[in-house]
Symmetry: C2
Subunit: 654 residues, 2 copies
């Protein structure tokens, strides 16, 4: 407990001086620039090159290589045991990834082999460059859907699949360039501006879109819409199902059976950890089994057209990724749109990748360098766009598989990439007979993983405004487009910040019994009022043009309409108003004008105004505006001192 | 000075309970709704009708009339002395207002008599309804310019001045309806969202626009651009001046001479208060003298076309405002645009009027009711649109004249309106010969009053970001359009709030010598560090998705790179980190996640984290997320208690 000791007024006087005469604070512009500098400039680590200046050249070179390729560091104490772990994890990953790669490629409206290509080069490059040790790289379902739906909205005549593929490579190129730039200029923090609530809503809506798009493959519908919003897809499915000849029931039978099989194995894997491998193998197993069935009973050439099953057909394969440098198109008519699409995809795919890398690194107790990850993603996509790959990113589901399969380093990514390469060489014969419905079933089976109802309900519990941002993003993506949905989510997230920063609310505060601390009487119901003194704290961070008049009105109304309670339960009017300014980050000219007006109005009622604990910028501006002398120097270090001054035999002027 | 007394741990324990177990705070949505309710709902005043319930009917009726027409209250103790003051002020006002009304009408590209009409009906209506006692109503130069420039951008064929006039009346009607609605729904606070910085920039650019537009009249240019942006106007003037036949030098001679005369009289008035009347009279004097000159020497019909002076020509007059009800057009093709223009003009003219009313009310110690003012402006403009008036608002320059002329009540407005009415009846013959260049000179002479360089330099001094908003609005209006300029200004103003609310900056705080208070060591250089304890306060109001990771990184970097100073000057590493959360208004899930990660990382370095003085919502969310138990209950009422707990012989867990 604190006990008040007698003190000379001089001491309070000099303390008042401390408050009223602080050093000149940095301007807001200066602060912003400082913040940018702190965020953007690299921070020297103890083991930088500078410490190597006097070392022999070979050591410097080795340090450089280690800096450029962090994988070398993890290979230092690499051994057979670790290799075995990585090898097994890589094989599991490949079995899991091959069907996903092909499925995601069809989601991006590309031929399946491009998915496999994207499962080879990007992971190889990324595993050399990145600081993460867990993330698995490949084509992602959200990126794929976004890519196709955004390119569809371009008003460019896309005559054939070749020109479409060209556009995809060019977008991938731009996305990579943007990512590279973000990383080099250390703008990796930009991905922070997509709040988690927005991401949850966005992913859920994207998952619904992905599921809906797969109805085409699952039902074998011939004429389907290119749009990805809810209305168009439901309408297209409805029209097709009404018209018997527009869809092929055998597709549905095959697709649906294997979908059930995949979901069942996943259910088994969740119930019994020993059967987890089954859920990893089941997609590839489904492809092999279904392809063999189609091949054996010739379903793809059934004599009745209605019973025919759509298969993938001829797939270019048998060699490493072909070069696609010449396919990049920088046609003046569309290049602007492609840059815009590339920008959006770069941001979306970064957000997911960084989040995945960060969560698994913290699971294992590593630390990643976001800017380094962003640079690696950028280089990988730029090179990818020249080697027949489309946008690749870190995949949550595959990273989880990698983690569970016990991988130790990024070598598992390399093993996976080489396995996919082999499959491309030897499996293309089999893939000819793979029913399209199976790929659709594999993609659909991934949809539930993207809809995080738990997180959504948690957001609802903790913050209703965040839930609004989440639902806004969800509905925006579902009914309009990905960009609109993201814009809605970000808009609501920032509006929330603005609203709470400028809300014109005040809290009445009182003394906490047994202490000299003061607190909000609503937060601390045991706090006691001080008779005749109204102490208010602002709930906003700014007193500015947007709330100053309203705050002033509320304080005045409180002074006029309410009475303070006596110790004996009697009422007496307020004679002092103390504003606890400690929560106030800043003030503007309108805020100062309101304080002046408040002081005039209170003075005319015989009420004295005092300010307690103003922060640096606030007291500086109040002094510039001569407000301190206007309230007779009643500015105090803390609410406690202000109360003492109010209750004391005479006013202690500063 | 405070002295620490011995205390039982139980007490600290129970105080910790206070912090950790507050009542459930209202949700943010609840808070927003409460704030809206407080802002929108009327607040009962002591003298409402309810107190009259048991009074006779006649008294109730009288109270109702007094409520509807506040002017009745000021007439209660009206006497001959006050009437004399008001009468003289009204006459002065009329002499000052007649030329301004005509000039502003030409600025709005209307025939001058509409300016005079707008100087009659709106002031009469407003003086009956409003709570202000000083404001003078009439056509404003900014509204006029805005009106013409916004209507010009409509892609509607405006064949003749009659259809243009119809559009102006309809826009006036919609502006009035919007103002009425704002007032009735108590949205008067909406005008707060235009920050002062934005208004200063906007007015300055509008003034430049007004000045440029007047070059047409001043030079007598025949073919002029309809656009109001800088490039177009300068280009049009340049083209005209190069082409000798496109402008009439005599116009310039006459206009420029009288402009000099008006500016000279104003200069005299400023130097010598006794000559102030001269500056009020000079515009009307200029009109009369120049018209007489033109009439006498027949300049308007000069035999050489080059020397001809453009005059106003025939003016409809001689009667009261004609009805314009039938001229309101609600054509489906344009009505949407007209509503949009009406909305912008309603906001702009409200902002100016309320600011003028408020500043002069506070000069005289009155209090105005913004919502009542807004309703009155709305009614006045709706009625005005049906009686051949265009948008009227409160005029700063005329209100200042009114104030200086010693008016007592709104009766001066009535006297002014009746005088304008008389002039309309008897002066129209004279106005035929008034050179257009004189009206241009009168408008140009008003331009310097709108460019407030003092205020701009004050804004620059106090807040650089505000100055950015000011310049943004200025340049936006000058080079693009009024709406874009306002949007830029508002955007920067709100961005400023966001930036400072989420800036990832931390302040290190220390104990202020001789007290138990703590403060920012930069703000209070005399503050002393506590060895081994790092106390940081967040400079932002939110710890959320946009700054949480960066704040976490900074605290970690500080703990790693800095050492605390011993009393003996030795260095020792930090073993405690206390976060002073008192400035934190709120936190979101990303913020909590970062605190968890920070705690994990600090714990792995053997550093203990504590939280001091969390606000209501913050501690509530931290508890929901189980964070309090994760940091071992180290949550304290104040920084002082947290420090005691850190330095004490053992950790006092809550």
């Amino acid at each position: 407990m604190w006990r008040r000791c007698s003190e000379s007024e001089m001491v309070v006087g000099s303390r008042g001086e401390w408050v009223v005469n602080p050093p000149r604070p940095p301007s807001m512009l200066r602060q912003v620039l400082d913040n940018i500098k702190h965020t953007l400039l690299p921070h020297p680590h103890p083991n930088t090159f500078s410490s190597l200046k006097n070392q022999p050249f070979s050591k410097q070179l080795s340090a450089l290589f280690h800096h450029l390729f962090p994988i070398l560091a993890s290979l230092h104490n690499y051994n057979a045991q670790k290799l075995k772990c990585d090898f097994m994890a890589g094989l599991t990953l490949a079995i899991f990834a091959i069907p996903q790669c092909m499925g995601n490629a069809t989601l991006a409206q590309l031929s399946p082999e491009y998915g496999l290509y994207t499962g080879i080069v990007p992971p190889l490059i990324y595993s050399m460059l990145a600081s993460s040790r867990e993330i698995v790289i490949g084509p992602g379902s959200v990126d794929s859907l976004l890519l196709s739906s955004m390119i569809q909205t371009l008003k460019v005549p896309i005559n054939d699949s070749i020109s479409y593929t060209k556009i995809v490579f060019t977008v991938t190129f731009f996305a990579g360039i943007f990512q590279l730039a973000f990383g080099l200029f250390r703008f990796g923090f930009l991905v922070e501006y997509l709040s988690q609530a927005t991401i949850v809503g966005f992913l859920a809506a994207a998952a619904v879109g992905i599921g809906l798009q797969q109805l085409r493959g699952l039902f074998g519908i011939v004429n389907f819409t290119n749009k990805s919003d809810l209305f168009s897809v439901v309408k297209a499915v409805w029209i097709a199902l009404k018209n018997q000849s527009a869809w092929h029931p055998y597709n549905f039978v095959i697709g649906f059976s294997f979908l059930c099989f995949i979901l069942f194995t996943r259910f088994l894997g969740k119930r019994n950890k020993k059967l987890l491998w089954l859920s990893h193998v089941s997609p590839l197993l489904s492809i092999i089994v279904s392809s063999v069935i189609v091949y054996k009973i010739n379903l793809h050439k059934h004599h009745m057209k209605d019973y025919r099953v759509e298969v993938l057909g001829p797939i270019k394969g048998g060699s490493l990724n072909p070069s696609s440098v010449k396919q990049l198109t920088f046609d003046g008519k569309v290049v602007g749109h492609l840059i815009r699409i590339g920008f959006t995809i770069a941001i979306i795919s970064l957000t997911g990748s960084i989040a995945v890398a960060r969560s698994f690194a913290s699971l294992k107790g590593h630390k990643i360098d976001p800017n380094r990850e962003v640079v690696s993603l950028g280089i990988m996509n730029v090179v990818g766009s020249m080697t027949s790959c489309y946008v690749a990113s870190g995949s949550l589901s595959r990273t989880a598989v990698n983690y569970n399969a016990g991988s130790e380093t990024m070598v598992s990514n390399i093993v996976m990439a080489l396995t996919v390469l082999m499959s491309l060489k030897f499996l293309t014969g089999l893939l000819y007979f793979t029913p399209k419905a199976i790929l659709a079933a594999i993609i659909v089976s991934a949809v539930p993983g993207l809809i995080d109802l738990n997180k959504a309900s948690q957001i609802w519990k903790v913050d209703k405004m965040d839930f609004l941002a989440c639902s806004g993003a969800f509905l925006g993506v579902l009914f309009a487009s990905a960009e609109i949905g993201l814009a809605i989510g970000m808009g609501i997230s920032f509006a929330k910040i603005i609203i709470s920063s400028i809300q014109p609310a005040i809290a009445v505060i009182g003394r906490l019994p047994g202490t000299d601390d003061f607190g909000d009487v609503q937060q601390y119901p045991m706090a006691v009022n001080i008779p005749g003194v109204l102490i208010v704290s602002l709930k906003s961070a700014w007193l500015c043009f947007a709330n100053a008049n309203l705050v002033e009105e509320r304080i005045e109304r409180w002074v006029i309409n309410e009475k303070s309670m006596d110790a004996k339960g009697g009422q007496r009017p307020f004679v002092h108003v103390i504003i606890d300014a400690s929560s106030l980050t800043n003030i503007d000219t309108a805020g100062i004008a309101s304080l002046v007006e408040l002081n005039n109005n209170l003075t005319s009622r015989g009420v004295k105004l005092a300010i307690a604990n103003p922060r640096w910028h606030v007291i500086h501006k109040l002094r510039l505006a001569n407000f301190v002398s206007k309230i007779g120097g009643r500015v105090f270090l803390s609410v406690g001192e202000a109360v003492d001054a109010c209750l004391g035999p005479k006013m202690v002027a500063v």
